[in-house]
């Protein structure tokens, strides 16, 4: 608790004890009002002071001012206990609110407990612990096992395992050795390493992530804007109703020849004033979003605004880029077909030829073959542009390439459009078979797509790749729609069509790697960048950033979003219902002032506690 909070707590306790004592002590009834003035001022001095300065400042709808009028009014018509009770509950509510806010603030920092406190810097042969803010780019820092990497850098000495769970939510440690780029916030597990920093602390991964999360609440959601607008109207409206409630019924009574009952109606109208502060709503909604964003951040999902968290729950369409998002964007051997030879022989010949090339396809063949056999490099290797490679393997001519290349040695093959890239192999003038190479679907993609399909979310794949390749991937993943052979501009066009077609509601999410697809990311309702750890451009351009390559995180993000929205709606409905109920009962004279304030503070406490559930 802060000093301010402690002060308030002491005043509340003292005020409460004094009130009870006055009740227990044999004080004559006619002096009760004077005795109760003591707890009244103990509890209300700051409110009255602020109320007075509110009048000077012309802030009539200031809640202190309203609370002041309500309690002074209650006192004047002889409801002393009511006045004291109202102040007591009001103060309790304020104390709880400030405690809850402080707690969630701490929770967020703990949740993201990744900001390192110091950096070990070598100066004059001695290790010094410095404030990471003071470390310049290019400084050598040392990270011991068990410590957090304070600043982004490259390893210059030592090897170790690093855990990046604080950044990505993934707890699998990764090997790191000289030359590996290391992100601040990762934990060094096994060995002492030396780093050369590549960024200043403020620009390092950890600082960026924390800034993003902390600033996310500034992009307000629709619910928050609704509440802000509501709050602006609510207080004046309640005050005017209070005034009308005070004036109209007695005047009507007088007109009808009855007694006006001024003090009864004044009391009822004062009941209105004590529930005129919309604080429960104003605090619980942003608090819910804040919690939701924090919870997502902990799992490696950075949501850059409450508005995005809100819109995410209403996702109707998810659009994917293919290469680099659904697929790894690297080539791998996915199969082979042999003619009169074994797989080993085929691979042996192909790898011997391809080991002389730097083409990505060649590399994938060699990498695949190396797992199975000893690769020797062929002699007289010649790359034939647009066809393939020729060379001498074990003294005989060997060829690896497309159908055109096969034709040069008289091997006629049928040209079919396949989903994979095909490398045909010929040896000593004879056709030996072919190797299929294709881009590979990322590990968690099929499961993530299944979840999206189950949730009845339309999935669309956009790709610049050939139709056959797109078709194959789309079938494998059961994507609802796909468009192939697109230029970057076409992707934007297709996305715009989807945006037009969706109507008023429903969110169109675009998922990409955040590097080549910035225009599409920007155009969509929510742009999601995947695998963004270390890719600053992606973090900048996207609205939601998945730190690692796991699309399941997007599904998780949607769940968090749905839960947050549910809590927000519960809070809005519940708070409004209780407030209106109090207003009605107050107007009818059923609820008195202190029951109303008790209900009001109670709602606030429940709403805030409910809002804090989003953090889990």
């Amino acid at each position: 608790m802060t000093k301010k909070q402690k002060n308030k707590l002491i005043r509340i306790v003292v005020g409460f004890i004094l009130t009870v004592m006055i009740y227990l002590l044999p004080i004559p009834e006619k002096w009760e009002w004077a005795a109760l003035l003591v707890p009244y001022f103990v509890l209300g001095c700051d409110i009255l002071k602020k109320a007075l300065s509110g009048i000077v400042r012309g802030q009539v709808f200031d809640e202190n001012f309203l609370m002041g009028i309500a309690t002074v009014g209650a006192y004047l018509i002889g409801e002393y206990v009511e006045a004291v009770a109202v102040l007591l509950f009001y103060q309790l509510g304020e104390l709880f609110e400030s405690y809850a806010v402080g707690k969630s603030r701490r929770n967020i920092s703990e949740l993201m407990n990744i900001r390192p406190d110091y950096a070990n810097v070598m100066t004059d042969g001695e290790i010094q612990k410095l404030d990471p803010n003071e470390v310049e780019v290019g400084t050598e820092i040392i990270v011991f096992p068990g410590e957090r990497v304070p600043i982004d850098g490259i390893i210059t000495e030592g090897e170790t395992q690093l855990e990046v769970s604080a950044l990505t939510g993934e707890s699998l440690p990764a090997e790191a050795s000289v030359g590996t780029a290391v992100f601040s916030g990762s934990v060094n597990i096994s060995g002492k390493i030396k780093l050369k920093t590549t960024k200043v602390f403020g620009e390092s991964t950890v600082s960026k992530i924390l800034d993003l999360i902390q600033n996310a609440a500034m992009k307000k959601s629709k619910s928050e804007n609704f509440i802000t607008r509501f709050a602006r109207v609510y207080t004046p409206a309640v005050c005017i109703s209070a005034l009308l409630l005070f004036l109209l019924p007695p005047l009507v009574s007088i007109a009808m020849g009855n007694a006006p009952m001024w003090s009864e109606w004044l009391f009822r109208s004062l009941t209105f004033l004590v529930i005129s502060c919309p604080c429960a709503l104003v605090i619980s909604v942003p608090l819910s979003f804040f919690g939701g964003i924090g919870a997502a951040g902990k799992k490696g999902i950075l949501i850059k605004g409450s508005n995005y968290l809100e819109k995410l729950s209403d996702t109707k369409t998810v659009v994917f880029d293919k290469t680099g998002t659904l697929t790894k964007g690297t080539f791998e051997v996915t199969g082979s077909e042999e003619v009169n030879c074994s797989e080993k022989e085929l691979l042996y010949i192909a790898a011997a030829l391809e080991s002389g090339s730097k083409h990505p396809i060649a590399k994938s063949v060699v990498a695949y073959a190396k797992d199975k056999l000893q690769v020797n490099t062929a002699e007289n290797i010649k790359e034939i542009p647009g066809q393939g490679i020729s060379g001498t393997v074990d003294g005989k001519t060997a060829l690896a390439g497309n159908t055109k290349l096969m034709k040069t040695v008289g091997i006629e093959l049928e040209e079919t459009e396949k989903a994979s890239t095909v490398v045909h192999v010929a040896f000593d003038g004879e056709y030996k078979g072919c190797i299929y190479i294709s881009d590979v679907i990322k590990k968690t993609i099929p499961e993530a797509l299944k979840i999206l399909n189950r949730r009845k979310i339309k999935t669309v794949m956009l790709t610049g790749d050939r139709n056959a390749v797109a078709q194959k991937i789309a079938n494998e993943l059961s994507v609802s729609e796909f468009y192939s052979e697109l230029l970057p501009n076409d992707k934007v066009e297709h996305l715009e069509k989807l945006l037009e077609g969706k109507g008023e509601k429903g969110t169109v999410v675009f998922v990409g790697d955040g590097i080549n697809d910035a225009p599409v990311l920007a155009r969509s309702d929510i742009g999601v960048a995947m695998g963004a750890l270390g890719a600053d451009a992606a973090i900048e351009s996207a609205d939601i950033v998945l730190m690692d390559d796991d699309l399941l995180k997007l599904c998780k993000g949607m769940e968090i979003s749905k839960k947050t929205l549910k809590i927000v709606r519960q809070n809005i409905a519940f708070s409004l219902a209780v407030k209106f109920l109090c207003l009605i009962l107050g107007a009818l004279g059923i609820a008195n002032m202190w029951i109303s304030i008790f209900a009001d503070v109670g709602v606030m406490v429940i709403a805030v506690l409910n809002a804090m559930r989003t953090m889990k």
């Binding site: 300065s53 400042r57 902390q214 604080c279």
Partner: protein
């Protein structure tokens, strides 16, 4: 030019009132208060005198909540 300030304010409703009032100051394009973190982002107009504006922000905020504190 966007700058971040710390802001000490006690009630959420006051924070949103202060936000609205500061946004209206001449020379300030936008202001956003993050009540929970106690931070405020202010977008100044091009070539605005930030020191003068900070004083003005402070004044406007104090009018709504007397013990509100804004600092860098």
């Amino acid at each position: 030019m966007e700058k971040q300030f710390k802001i000490e304010v006690d009630c959420a409703n006051c924070a949103s009132k202060i936000e609205a009032a500061i946004s209206k100051i001449n020379g300030i394009d936008e202001a956003h208060i993050n009540f929970i973190m106690g931070k405020m982002n202010v977008k100044f107009d091009e070539g605005a005198d930030e020191k003068k504006l900070l004083k003005q922000m402070q004044k406007v905020a104090r009018k709504i909540e007397p013990d509100c504190e804004i600092y860098l």
